[in-house]
Structures are given as C-alpha cells and as structure tokens.
C-alpha cells in the first residue's frame, strides 16, 4: 500500500493507505480525529469541511493521496490548549449550535469566510454557508456568531 505524509494540525502523520482512502477516513479512522464529521457523504452538507493549506474543502470528496505533503487543519487543531479559537468562542457565546453535528464544518467554513472577506454582511454570510447544512435549521444564531466574530476581529 502507498504511504502518505500529511501534516495534520501541525504534526506530520505518515500512514499506509489504500488509494481509494478518502481524506475524511484518513482523519477519522487512521488518526482517530473524529471531530470532522460525515453527514451526507455527497459533498453537499459540509459537516466534513477542513482546511487544506489554509482554504476550506470537503474532506469526504478528496482522496488522502491528493493531499500528500499538504497541511490540513481540523476542528481539533483550532483551540490553543484551553483557549478556544475566536470563532469557536463566538459560536459558544451566541449559541450557534443546536445538536452540534454540523458545527465543526460550520466553524471551519466560517473561518475561511473571514479569511477571504473579513467584514461580511449578513447576506454574504448566508451565501457563504450555502455548502453547510444544519438539519436543526439553527442558522440564525450561526450567522449571528460569525458576524460577532468578524466584528470582534475588526476591533482587535
């Protein structure tokens, strides 16, 4: 079996994988990082969103071999010890979640939004979340959380 080395949350991880191994399987099954979720498994729901070299992508629709050598960040890599990432903190403060299943993907997508657009308006936030589905329909507070995080960052 081929071997891949992917730097996950700052740590190089080398594993033997089948060519058909999806990135999300690599993260969840080979590394035990189960914070990245599989929802629809058809690249529509966004529960599996991670960052590849800084941009957001759906890890259920990528092969582990495609990102051999890349830097991947998952939800587990955001907090520094006990200190939550500002986006995680904003989701907590604004109750941006109900059941929590979609939350890792929502947080990873939202961080990418503020990377490309640090001051999004409400419409831009909602459009950006087109690829992240919340079955609880808890969008309202998710949008509030992202807006709050953007505002806090603008002040900082």
């Amino acid at each position: 079996m081929p071997s891949v080395t992917i730097t996950v949350n700052g740590k190089p991880e080398t594993r033997e994988v089948e060519n058909r191994t999806l990135l999300v399987q690599f993260l969840r099954e080979h590394l035990g990082l189960t914070g990245t979720h599989v929802g629809c498994d058809t690249s529509q729901c966004g529960a599996c969103v991670v960052h590849i070299d800084g941009y957001s992508a759906k890890s259920c629709t990528m092969l582990a071999t495609q990102v051999n050598g890349a830097n991947v960040t998952t939800i587990e890599g955001l907090a520094k010890g006990d200190q939550l990432h500002p986006m995680q903190e904003a989701f907590r403060e604004n109750h941006g979640l109900q059941c929590g299943f979609c939350t890792p993907g929502m947080v990873m997508s939202s961080i990418d939004l503020l990377r490309v657009n640090p001051k999004p308006n409400e419409r831009q936030i909602r459009e950006w979340l087109e690829g992240n589905i919340c079955r609880c329909t808890g969008y309202h507070n998710i949008v509030k959380a992202i807006a709050a995080c953007a505002e806090k960052q603008a002040k900082a």
Binding site: P2, E18, N19, R20, L22, D41, T42, S43, Q44, G46, V49, I52, Y55, S56, A57, K58, T61, M62, L63, T65, Q66, N68, S109, D112, L113, V116, W128, E130, G131, N132
Partner: protein, 264 residues
C-alpha cells in the same frame, strides 16, 4: 468505491502517456465530480491520473484580446481574478456561483468542460463567448467541442491545457439553480461583441446549445423586450424530478431576458 491505481502526473505529457497506457485510465482535475462518481461505483477506472500537481496548468493571463485560463485554475481563482473581473465580469460572476465555496476551492474550469455535465455552468460560457479549447494536441472551437450528454470532441489521451476567451463588449450569465446541488436547472449565458450576439443555454437539454432565434433578435435589438415572445421549444429538453421540459423551456426565456438585462 472500488480501488484503483493512483498516479500524480508531473507534466501534461506524462499525464497523457499514463492515461493512454492504462487499461481504463481516467484523468482527475479537482475531483468534484469524479470522486462522487467513484463513490457511487458509477465508474470503475483501473487508473486515476491526478493533474493537481502540474503547475503550468494553473493561472490566468491576458493575451491580446483574449483571457487565457489554465485548465487547472479553480473556480475560486476565476471568480476573484482582477483580470477576469475587469475584462469579462460575466465569467467571474459565473464562477462565483458554481456549487458552494468549498467546491469552488477544488473544482476547476478544465474539469468542468471536459466532463460536460448537461447542468454544468462553464460550458455555456465557452459556447456563448466563442472560446477556444486548447489541448496538448490542438485547438478546438467551442462550436465543435460539446458533442452530447457528457460527450466532447476530446480524443483518448487528449488533455485540456487552457481555455482562451475572446473579450466581448459585454456578457452576463443567469441561472436558476437547483437549491440543493446549485447545478443549473437552466442557465443562459449571453455575450455581445459588436453586432454579434451569442446565447448559450445549459441545464435545459442533454448538452449545452445555442438559442439562435434569440441570437438573431438580439443582434438587431439588444434588449430583453426583443426576445420576450421567442418561445423555446420543449421537445428534447430534460424532464426530471427537478423540473419538467415545459418548465425548463419557460425558464430559458426568463433567464435569457435577465441575462440580457444583466449585461447592462
């Protein structure tokens, strides 16, 4: 997903050799269609040849009166390119509404065009803007490229390297997206260069096509009113769970008028 041999090609020549030499080779661009297809076991290639690491396939440049986009340029990069936004804003707008942000971060123009999904957005821009598809073997005119359902003029071992778009006076794309997949239920790209107008329709039929009655009317009078009474025939159009052929035919006219209006 069935397993397969995986190759990361370092050059277009190497990719062409690998795909020709394989029992059943398949080129992979961004993988946004191929990987879901493999997961559903709708395809069983012996070898997948990944084009992702070929640097010369990426990038956007202005070459005289053309915008040349490398085949492996991602939708995100086309949507946010200053060159594309100033020369062909309609094309940047099209790229900005493909799928969702995470899909636009992986999907590529070459992959979209080579796959020729009947509901893909990019083929309409190629046809309406009269672009040229550049491959490792030749140049193919837009009118000769899209042959049928998922079928193109590409030969085995032929690899798209770039798409060259002549800069129009104005152009605009308008789509009625499927609310779940964001694929076009109907999408219409209208482009005007001098008195020449081209109208390309995606999503409605088995393959992207030109609406020549609308083109003739718009060449004389470039306004939404000029085409309001031109009815798209529904025979041969797609009919499925998302929309009937009659509804799609109706949408062709609505989207075309909005696209003309969007040209400004």
């Amino acid at each position: 997903m069935y397993n397969f041999n995986y190759h990361q090609a370092k050059s277009v020549d190497e990719a062409a050799k690998l795909v020709s030499g394989a029992e059943e080779g398949k080129l992979m661009a961004g993988g946004m269609t191929l990987i879901p297809t493999l997961k559903q076991r709708l395809a069983k290639p012996s070898d997948v040849i990944d084009l992702g690491k070929i640097a010369d396939l990426k990038g956007i440049k202005k070459d005289g009166n053309n915008i040349v986009i490398g085949a492996m340029t991602r939708h995100f990069d086309v949507a946010n390119s200053d060159v594309v936004k100033s020369a062909i804003p309609g094309l940047a707008g099209l790229a900005a509404h493909i799928g969702d942000p995470a899909v636009r971060n992986r999907g590529t123009i070459g992959g979209s065009i080579a796959n020729n999904d009947p509901a893909a957005d990019y083929p309409s821009s190629v046809l309406a803007l009269n672009a040229t598809i550049i491959t490792n073997k030749r140049k193919i005119a837009a009118d000769d490229f899209f042959k049928g359902l998922f079928e193109t003029a590409l030969e085995p071992g032929e690899v798209i390297t770039a798409v060259s778009y002549p800069i129009p006076d104005k152009s605009h794309y308008m789509k009625f997206p499927n609310p779940a997949s964001r694929y076009a239920i109907v999408g219409v790209y209208v482009a005007k260069t001098g008195n020449n107008v081209r109208v390309a329709v995606t999503g409605a039929g088995p393959v992207v096509f030109r609406q020549k009655d609308m083109e003739a009317a718009l060449s004389k009078n470039f306004s939404p009113d000029a085409i309001k009474d031109i009815k798209q025939k529904d025979s041969g159009l797609n009919s499925d769970i998302h929309a009937s052929a009659e509804y799609r035919a109706h949408l062709v006219n609505v989207m075309a008028r909005r696209a003309v209006q969007g040209c400004g």
